[in-house]
Symmetry: C2
Subunit: 288 residues, 2 copies
């Protein structure tokens, strides 16, 4: 059976792109506050950007907002992405940005909801409840789970930047210490026995990206924060890409959705990423 | 305007109970796997236990599981609790156990969904993304937010028990240190400028309860874990109750739902809590 990450890498190769297109139908961007408008908004972005999208990332909140109709729209959107993929002849993974996290028996219900009912290929999860809250999602070997590690919002520093001692239940601070987000990356790497864990690492802080990359050299990152949130694309890629020039999905939502021509905006971003990859390759070859 | 916690305390006084009844329609407990069965299951518990429920806590996962129909059932359930409350002449708060947590603009959509669309009175939130992920919920002065602090599951130790230095961005470990969950309690207390933050603190670890109580003497706790997860009721209450004998909602789900007579099971639990409160009062008076 194919794992999520081999599926993702195939798509990345097919479209020569590391661009993840976020589908965030903010009410303020919709002509009217209805689930149908949220679906139309998202479908338009899917159609316009599918040729350069390595993945699509709908955010559950903006659909949940519309209650039952929103949930139905989310399901239709994921099905429509599969149809669009079939038309292109290259399946595009869907990462459900839900940031769920609950104790095991409850996490099972969330996992079934996301993977079986909605048909998402991967999900974002919050690691605060620990391994047993992640495990039910990992039980789907062909699905992926991106754990929140270092997020791109200002409040990220409140918990994620705290210096922690590496072993739990000790307050002996002579043991080596790391920021909490680095510890989460280390845990994710240790838990990744089935090649289905990735990490959410914001593109806004290159030093953090580099530290997470050092802690988890082979994991895929999902990196929001380029554009409106202030992350610089080239700097982020240089800090976060794996040695093979992959391993990082650059998520962009608003700059594409609000562009006059979303298709051109997505293509321009895809090309910008390819250029940075090319430069890095060249420097790598020079360095040898 | 009344705050969530004054609303809750009024209900606690009305029913002389600290029992929060969890509404978790696990598929394995339903006669058939449908949203209608989940709703029926939950409504039956509401009717049978309303007289001794200080609050009801539906878990979003078990409704989300059924997609649009589940979301509709959850809305109906919350409306039905309001009707049952009206019948009793004492409003019973609804705490939506959703454990959400996202960056600010997205958190707004979750807050609107929970408070405006579904009509919940309070919600559980994950603090990993920091203050700005909580802020949109706190913007509703009459609603409550319970932050996950120390959960009752085995994986809780993976992150929550880690020893952290109190100030972020420092790795100088000569500064005083506390387990991450204590730091979360301290943050919650500092963020609680509008009297609408509580904490989720599992009943399974009395020492942790006592430490959180010491860190946040006045906050309300929502405490799951009594019963199947192994928490002892009297020990938990003694460790977690405030000096005024309140400040703690004991959440019970399965032991009530799976009891032959849920009404009796809930009443027995309510009485057990009252007895512990009485004993503590007596000891307190002796101690003076």
């Amino acid at each position: 059976m194919e794992t999520f990450f081999s599926f993702l890498e195939r798509r990345v190769d097919d479209c020569a792109s590391l661009l993840c297109v976020g589908l965030d139908p903010h009410i303020s961007d919709l002509p009217e506050a209805t689930a149908a408008a949220a679906l139309d908004f998202s479908l338009r972005i899917v159609r316009e950007t599918s040729s350069c999208a390595a993945a699509f990332k709908p955010n559950a909140a903006f659909f949940e907002f519309f209650g039952p109709e929103g949930w139905d729209a989310l399901k239709q959107l994921i099905a429509a992405i599969a149809e669009e993929s079939a038309r292109l002849g290259s399946m595009i993974p869907v990462i459900l940005d839900a940031k769920r996290g609950d104790i095991a028996s409850t996490a099972e219900a969330y996992a079934k909801s996301a993977f079986e009912r909605l048909g998402a290929d991967a999900i974002t999860l919050n690691p605060y409840l620990g391994r047993d809250s992640i495990e039910p999602f990992l039980g789907y070997p062909e699905k992926g789970a991106f754990l929140l590690c270092k997020t791109s919002n200002p409040g990220a520093s409140d918990l994620q930047d705290l210096a922690v001692a590496r072993s739990p239940l000790t307050e002996d601070f002579r043991t080596p210490s790391v920021p909490l987000y680095v510890h989460v990356a280390e845990l994710a790497r240790a838990w990744n026995t089935r090649d289905n864990i990735g990490l959410v690492v914001g593109a806004t802080q290159p030093e953090a990206l580099a530290r997470v990359r050092a802690a988890a050299p082979e994991l895929w990152f999902l990196s929001p924060g380029v554009g409106p949130q202030g992350g610089d694309l080239a700097t982020a890629l240089k800090a976060g890409l794996r040695k093979d020039g992959k391993g990082m999905l650059i998520n962009v939502s608003r700059s594409i959705a609000r562009a006059e021509n979303p298709k051109k905006a997505a293509a321009a971003l895809r090309d910008e990423i390819v250029n940075v990859q090319r430069d890095m390759n060249r420097e790598e070859r020079k360095g040898r």
